[in-house]
Symmetry: C2
């Protein structure tokens, strides 16, 4: 086995380790939510689709607004309750597209997408989990304003954690889409792929949505076979990560490759090939001679790949 490379301290996985206490028991209590909203210590994240509004301040960019400040930005849609921090509420407020676009022109704001905010470190890292929570929840509302059971317009209830249909009385809950993301490995080699939408020379893990009726070990094997033609045996779970693009939950795994020949599904992937551990270490370190690189450490793919390079994976 190759020597264990020194990749430096382990960075934090993006969007995890929230400091927010969700206080779910408050959601159905309209009076409690109203009191939290009117508390001057309440703060809101202002999110318009993929865009997040950041205030320029002397201390840097601040994603938090008082509720009156957020609602003065322009037309808004849903307000959702994210939870409590030191006893004060955190909300997310949906900006209408026109509001978010208009803010882009103002010099006292930066309005950009969450991926850029996370990768470029534009805000304190502890803001990323509540922004992810709010973005996913608001995206669900934006796409679910009508009842899927009967077509009637539905209503936001429980501070944003449910929608009720006044016609058929259906109750609808926020949706989270589980996705398997995996690294097929065989001894000193692993398979990485390139999606058509990847920029530059990035290579990453394979991934796909879990389907109805699948355990995720089965989904790992099916997706790996579909995308690169590799048959996998044992699957080892690694970590999970909320991924609000728009409403996914990434389930990171390593998979034992039982076959070696790669057959690429060109409908899904631009390319895929075997990499050895030393080459991947250089990609993690951003020292690859041809400039190939893994995803950044905000993404679980970086951590899945790194755990294998650091020989921390064991199939059981």
């Amino acid at each position: 086995m190759s020597p264990r490379p020194d990749l430096g301290p382990k960075p934090r996985l993006g969007y995890t380790a929230s400091l927010i206490e969700r206080a779910a028991e408050q959601r159905a209590d309209a009076a409690a939510i109203a009191a939290l909203e009117s508390d001057p210590r309440a703060r809101a994240y202002a999110i318009g689709g993929e865009l997040v509004a950041l205030k320029k301040t002397a201390a840097g960019l601040d994603p938090q607004f008082t509720l009156p400040e957020a609602r003065a930005l322009g037309p808004t849609a849903e307000t959702v309750f994210l939870g409590l921090l030191d006893g004060a509420a955190r909300f997310a407020i949906a900006l209408e597209r026109s509001t978010a676009e208009a803010l882009k022109a103002r010099e006292d704001f930066v309005v950009t997408d969450l991926r850029s905010i996370a990768i470029q470190g534009l805000v304190e890292v502890d803001h990323l989990p509540p922004i992810a929570e709010g973005k996913a929840l608001l995206h669900w509302h934006a796409r679910h304003r009508f009842c899927s059971n009967c077509g009637a317009a539905s209503n936001l209830v429980e501070a944003g954690w449910r929608r009720d249909c006044p016609a058929c009385h259906g109750q609808h809950f926020p949706r989270t889409d589980p996705v398997v993301i995996m690294l097929p490995i065989a001894g000193e080699r692993c398979v990485l792929g390139r999606s058509y939408r990847f920029q530059g020379s990035m290579w990453s893990c394979l991934a796909g949505f879990i389907e109805p009726g699948e355990a995720f070990e089965d989904a790992v094997r099916r997706e790996t076979h579909e995308e690169v033609g590799i048959t996998c045996g044992r699957v080892s779970y690694f970590r999970s990560q909320p991924w609000p693009f728009p409403t996914s939950l990434m389930i990171g795994c390593h998979a034992e490759a039982l076959s070696r020949e790669i057959v690429i599904d060109r409908g899904e992937l631009e390319d895929a090939r075997w990499f050895d551990r030393e080459e991947v270490a250089l990609m993690l370190l951003r020292q690859h001679p041809q400039g190939l690189a893994t995803p950044p450490s905000v993404a679980i793919a970086y951590h899945i790949i790194r755990a294998w390079v650091e020989q921390e994976i064991e199939f059981r």
Copy 2:
């Protein structure tokens, strides 16, 4: 530590290890699907909500119908393509409620719910995964005949794997709801709870839906604290299981309990308490002196609990 009890051979986890190859590349090919439908070797499961129709045969109960047989049962709704078995297609066909109810009166059928079929072993165990796949997919269609984005009636496409909206052109994919199911443990003791809906003297793991913005380790800690007031530290993933009641994905975990006092959320649980390993072994063996029992082995809870009793859990 107590001696490792002999619990006998490990039973199979229900609804997993499907023999069906999903053949997802065929779904968009209407001609291929039509050819598979008209192949006399094609078979369908006939499912009406919670109910599954089983034919009485000399060899036992058979959940498989030819497509003409299934459609002759009475009014049906969606047909969805589950995949291939030995080159022949397996479908699931939605029975209208009236059809399923009418079949109950016939002597040549047994019509009952999937839980009973699984627990009582009414069909060959290899039928359970495709029935789970079909049931979850058909339930999604039944509750999503209208576009959640604009309220228009949507259309089934891709052999049942997508619904398209003719008005706003939204595309909708089957929904799977990830649920954490966990056993909080502390040395020789674990916490089990009783839901109000449990029958008899059953005690089981705690469980709850993963929310937007949560990794599942975070969801385990939040739900355990909400339901029984226990603070948890490390979380160890065990296995996952599709759970088509109606569209869940169970994510089984063990959690390291850092506190001991139980405070029950009576809105969620009828009861919860600490159990020691020896008492739980008797519950798994159905030999408990007061008749207390774990869930049956079709459910992941049995396997989560058993793995702890058999001392196979290690936090890392």
